[in-house]
Symmetry: C2
Subunit: 212 residues, 2 copies
C-alpha cells in the first residue's frame, strides 16, 4: 500500500537560499518530490514557459478558478494574482509524491488551515550578517532593495514559530540532506499512519482468536 | 553551540525486534546515541555486569533513590523494582547525546509527562502473523508463553496512538536508518530551536538598525 504524499510548504527570507535548496532537492530525489506550479496573471518573462515556471492565466480565467475553488490558496500582489492549483497537487499526493509549495507565511498558514497535516518548513541563514552578505553578493540589487529585504526579514522572523521545522542553511549539500531527512521522518508520524494502526490492531485480535 | 540531546523512549511488542534494532543503531551511530541503563533490585543473571546491563541495587538503596527523586520513572514487577536513574540521562543529554530508554507504555507516558519534549517511538512488525512467526522462531518459548505475548500485544496496541512515531520493522538495516532519520529530523523541530530563533530575531533587528 503506497502511502499518500505529504504536502510541504517551504518559506524563508529572501536570500535564505531556499530556491537553490529546493532545486537541488528535486534534482537529487526526483522520484520522491514534486514541485507545485503556481498559476499567475502576470505576463511571462523572457524564457519562462507556461506549465514550467507558472501556469499563465488571464484575469478572467484566474477569477473563474477562484470561484470554482480550484485553488488551494491565492493572493494578489501589485495587480497580479498568484495561486496554487489544487488538481495538480492532489494528483501528485495521491501518487505518493511529497509535494512542495514555495510560498510566504500568509499563504503557508492558509494552506495549513485548509490541510492541517501540511508540513511547514522555514529556511534561514545561520545569522543576519550572512543574509546581508548573500543579498549583497548577488550583485543585482541596489542598496535600497537590500535594506528593504533586511527589514522584511525582521517582519517575517516574527512568524517563524508558527512553522513545524527550522532549516538552518549553512551549507547546501548537508542542508538538502537535512530537509530530506525531516520530510521522510515525518512519514512515520503516528498521525500519518492511522490506517496501518487500525489494520494491525484488527490483525492482532483476529490472530489471537485464531481466526487467521 | 551544541544542541541538547533528545530523550527517546522506544517501546514495542515483545517480538517486534526492537532489541536488535537498538543494538544496531547504537553500534552504527555510537557518537550520536547513548542507551539509558536501568536500575533494578533483581539479581544479576549469568554474564550480566553491573553498570552494563543494569545498575544492580538493594531494595533499600532503590527506595532511597525513589525518595530522593533520583529516578525519572520506576515500576515494580513481581517483587522487583526497575527504574531509570536521572543523573546518567541528564549528563548524556547535556553532552548533546540522544538518549534512548527502552520501556513499556506506562513508563513511556510517565516520562513524557515529566519531560514533554520526550520522543516516543513505537516499533511494530508489519503484521500479526510475522509477530507470531518471530516469537515461535526464537524456539525458546512454550506455546503458552507465545499466546500470552500475543494477547499482551493486543493490549499494548491500544496505546500506539499515544506515541509520536511508528516504526514498522520489516527489515533491520532499513529500519535502523529510518529510526535515525526520524530522530535526527526531530532536532530541527521549531520547538527544539527556541534559543536559535530568539537569537536570529535579535540579530536581524540589530543588523537592520546598523548596530552591527
Amino acid at each position: 500500500m503506497k502511502q499518500r504524499g505529504i504536502l510541504i510548504v517551504v518559506s524563508g527570507f529572501s536570500g535564505s537560499g531556499k530556491g537553490s535548496l529546493m532545486k537541488e532537492l528535486l534534482k537529487k530525489y526526483a522520484d520522491t518530490y514534486a514541485l507545485s506550479i503556481s498559476a499567475t496573471t502576470r505576463n511571462p518573462r523572457e524564457g519562462e514557459v507556461d506549465g514550467r515556471e507558472y501556469f499563465f492565466k488571464t484575469k478572467e480565467d484566474f477569477e473563474k478558478m477562484i470561484a470554482k475553488e480550484e485553488l488551494i490558496e491565492y493572493a494578489k500582489y501589485v495587480e497580479n494574482y498568484y495561486g496554487t492549483p489544487r488538481a495538480y497537487v492532489e494528483k501528485q499526493l495521491e501518487d505518493g509524491k511529497d509535494v512542495i509549495l514555495e510560498i510566504e507565511i500568509q499563504g503557508a498558514l492558509k494552506v495549513k488551515e485548509a490541510f492541517p497535516d501540511t508540513l511547514l518548513l522555514f529556511v534561514t541563514p545561520p545569522n543576519a550578517q550572512e543574509l546581508r552578505r548573500r543579498l549583497t553578493g548577488r550583485g543585482t540589487e541596489t542598496q535600497e532593495v537590500i535594506e528593504s529585504r533586511m527589514t522584511r526579514a525582521v517582519e517575517e522572523a516574527k512568524g517563524m514559530e508558527q512553522y513545524d521545522y527550522l532549516i538552518i542553511n549553512d551549507e547546501l549539500d548537508s542542508c538538502v540532506y537535512k530537509m530530506h531527512e525531516i520530510i521522510q521522518g515525518e512519514h512515520h508520524r503516528i498521525s500519518r499512519n492511522r490506517s496501518f494502526i487500525q489494520s494491525i490492531k484488527e490483525d492482532l485480535e483476529c490472530n489471537v482468536k485464531g481466526e487467521k
